[in-house]
């Protein structure tokens, strides 16, 4: 299994390059992961998305769909794509320390 140096520790990654254990995750790690994705600063809106994704994942075992994300996190579609320009689903999940979302929507 691949590892990556994050917040000064060797952290295990899954096959998609996301954290293998979501319990390794913390907010400083999110900032480092975001920087790797070309997001220099996590704004309160980024955090709203990240925290919502983590909450849904804890409860349901998969990240929410984009539709649900926009309806329930209070961040609309346009903003979501501005926050995560390289693709909100995968990138936000990665920064949130979650596996790649399974759904198609």
């Amino acid at each position: 299994m691949e590892t990556m140096n994050l917040t000064g520790k060797a952290i295990q990654l899954d096959a998609d390059g996301h954290l293998a254990n979501r319990n390794d995750w913390n907010e400083d790690m999110a900032r480092e992961l975001a920087a790797q994705e070309g997001i220099p600063e996590l704004t309160p809106q980024h955090w709203a998305v990240i925290n919502f994704m983590r909450k849904v994942f804890e409860k349901e075992g998969d990240a929410p769909s984009i539709r649900r994300l926009t309806k329930e996190s209070g961040v609309d579609t346009k903003t979501l794509y501005q926050l995560f320009p390289k693709g909100p689903a995968k990138r936000a999940a990665k920064i949130a320390g979650l596996p790649k979302p399974k759904g198609c929507i």
């Binding site: 096959a15 769909s65 984009i66 539709r67 649900r68 926009t70 609309d76 579609t77 346009k78 794509y81 320009p85 390289k86 693709g87 909100p88 689903a89 995968k90 990138r91 759904g103 198609c104 929507i105």
Partner: protein, 160 residues
């Protein structure tokens, strides 16, 4: 991963939607939305009956084809009975909603907000004598096949 992938990842897709049935329109929309979700540039080109998906008065009343559709596993005569298409359509809409896939109108807005460009085919627009006001606001431009290819430079073209 079992194979090493040395090919470049897909950067851009141009998706053509040519059918106007519910099952003819959804795949293209799902692929366009999925592309944007992955950070892939996407555009949608609606042609022939596919245009119904971006015509204001029609986009939210597309139906499942119950006749001439072997995938329905239903004898053609049965599929032709009054109400059969409406029934199949309402069943499919319910299942689609369960998967959190929006109705066509909402989906088009969502895809457009996601940064996907939406085009209508010039030849079809002329053939059916359609005007700008017939289309939903998300329709960016009526373009010719030539313009479509120009805009699709560097893209994978997907025909549905």
């Amino acid at each position: 991963m079992t194979q090493t992938n040395t090919a470049e990842p897909i950067q851009k897709v141009s998706i053509i939607v040519s059918h106007g049935s519910l099952e003819g329109v959804y795949p293209g929309l799902i692929m366009a939305n999925g592309a944007r979700m992955e950070g892939i540039e996407a555009s949608l080109f609606f042609t022939f009956f596919g245009l119904d998906a971006i015509i204001k008065k029609r986009m939210n009343s597309l139906k499942v084809a119950t006749v001439g559709n072997p995938g329905m596993h239903m004898p053609t005569l049965l599929g032709a009975l009054p109400g059969m298409s409406a029934f199949a359509t309402s069943m499919m809409r319910k299942e689609i909603e369960k998967l959190d896939i929006p109705p066509i109108g909402e989906f088009i807005t969502m895809i457009h907000d996601a940064g996907c460009e939406i085009y209508a085919c010039r030849a079809t627009v002329d053939m059916f004598h359609l005007k700008r006001e017939d289309f939903c606001d998300e329709m960016d431009e009526v373009i010719s096949v030539g313009q479509f290819y120009e805009k699709a430079t560097g893209a994978q073209i997907i025909f549905t």
